[in-house]
């Protein structure tokens, strides 16, 4: 099968988040309404899916997390402050190989797609760091109301690219997201930027899943695509 398009995941594939130091401040604000740092982060995490689905605003997510953490009464200004801090607690950083590799893959004639589980308040990043210009189509969970590993989000990207799933190469770091793409018939590439599977082992049982290629950086993807083109 000849590949006709390449679809990328965003987080930990193309970019990582760098802490800005505001997390500690957010913890202080949560502590003021009797929520421990641990309880706050657990509650924040419990609202992740709703945030990805675009069901809540940043402020709405903070309110939901405060509720989940058992904080019943608080000032509206406190929730707003917390929202500001959580929104700015990290900032996007592209991996060093991203711009060059995406440009190379594009030069090889592949249209590019992005499939990301992302909150609406993070989606603005893509434009601000000029990542959007590389992509011919972007399937963002907060806009579509559907997340990986559901089929619909992959199919939205495939449709946007005007190709069949079997003609796509899909690159992601998360095991179930790679496996879901494989089920749809895509060629799959597992990327792991961390040098070991230790962090993934905390969240996922099956790390010996099948993938057509396993890489540590995008340079390897470019070489692999080039070699296959030569066949």
């Amino acid at each position: 099968m000849t590949f006709r398009a390449v679809i990328f995941d965003l987080y930990w594939t193309l970019l990582y988040e760098e802490e800005t130091g505001l997390n500690a401040k957010a913890e202080e604000v949560a502590a003021a309404v009797g929520v421990t740092a641990e309880a706050w982060h657990k509650a924040w995490h419990s609202t992740l899916q709703a945030s990805w689905l675009g069901d809540v605003s940043l402020l709405g997510r903070v309110r939901a997390a405060l509720k989940a953490a058992g904080a019943a009464e608080y000032d509206g200004a406190l929730a707003e402050e917390l929202a500001g801090l959580m929104g700015a607690r990290s900032t996007p950083r592209l991996y060093a190989d991203v711009r060059e590799s995406l440009a190379k893959v594009k030069e090889m004639g592949f249209p590019l797609g992005l499939v990301s589980n992302i909150a609406s308040y993070r989606a603005g990043w893509l434009k601000e760091i000029e990542l959007t210009r590389f992509f011919d189509t972007m399937a963002l969970s907060c806009e579509l109301g559907v997340t990986k590993p559901e089929r619909a989000i992959y199919l939205a990207a495939v449709e946007g690219l005007g190709v069949k799933p079997q003609e796509c190469v899909f690159v992601d770091d998360v095991p179930p997201y790679v496996q879901a793409a494989r089920k749809l018939g895509m060629a799959t590439v597992r990327i792991n930027r961390f040098g070991s599977d230790e962090i993934y082992r905390e969240y996922y049982d099956d790390l010996d899943f099948e993938a057509d290629l396993r890489i540590a950086g995008l340079g390897e993807l470019v070489e692999w695509l080039e070699a296959r083109r030569g066949d």
């Binding site: 760098e18 800005t20 130091g21 505001l22 605003s57 940043l58 402020l59 709405g60 509206g76 200004a77 707003e80 402050e81 929202a83 500001g84 801090l85 929104g87 700015a88 990290s90 900032t91 996007p92 950083r93 592209l94 060093a96 711009r99 609406s120 308040y121 989606a123 603005g124 990043w125 434009k127 601000e128 760091i129 000029e130």
Partner: protein, 230 residues
Amino acid sequence: MPQAIIFDLFYTLLYDEGTGTREKAMEVAQAAGIAEDDWRRGWRAAGDDAAKGNPGTTIGRVRRALAEVGYDGESKRLVDELTGLMFVRQIPRLYPDTRGTLADLRGRGYRIGLVSNCFGNEAHWPREFELDHCLDAMVMSCAVGMVKPEPGIYELAADQLGVAPAECVFVDDVPSYVAGAMAVGMTGVRINRFESEEPYAEHKEPVAEPDLRIRELRELVEWLDGRRGA
């Protein structure tokens, strides 16, 4: 009789609080051999058209700022690092009377609009902080390619609200932006949330006297109620 009230965003409905990353960016620039004052000047100069969406992105503004100060290094890493830091340089804080006033005005039947000169990294704030729930129209300069005090941006807001400019009351803290609204026929209200005019020292060009001067939004509601009763 006014049918719609249009608000400015910054220092009218909210203010911004520094996150500390602006200072970190300064250190990064210094480490790359750019003097503090130069970086500040370059960043400012690069922002002249940024509210108009030119450059429309934080990274574009960083690149322009570096060019402005004559930085000729080819460091993509520096650009990315500065971009990351400047992107989260501030977070919004709503004034305590903002939500209540918008709700009160809506309750009185006014249509509510927003006209903001803002940068791309701030354009999502009204939605993420749920100000949009109280708004019938939102005109962000970076999205429409026009800035206050250009007549077009005020007219666009009135148009989106479905009213004539003469039926609008426009509230802003910047004197020339209030004057811009009055020039298209709106009623102009100048708000100053500060203790003095000092923060506005650089806006000293003479402009039309506003129809009303206020310190907080409560005064606007009272004034509107008074006019309605009259």
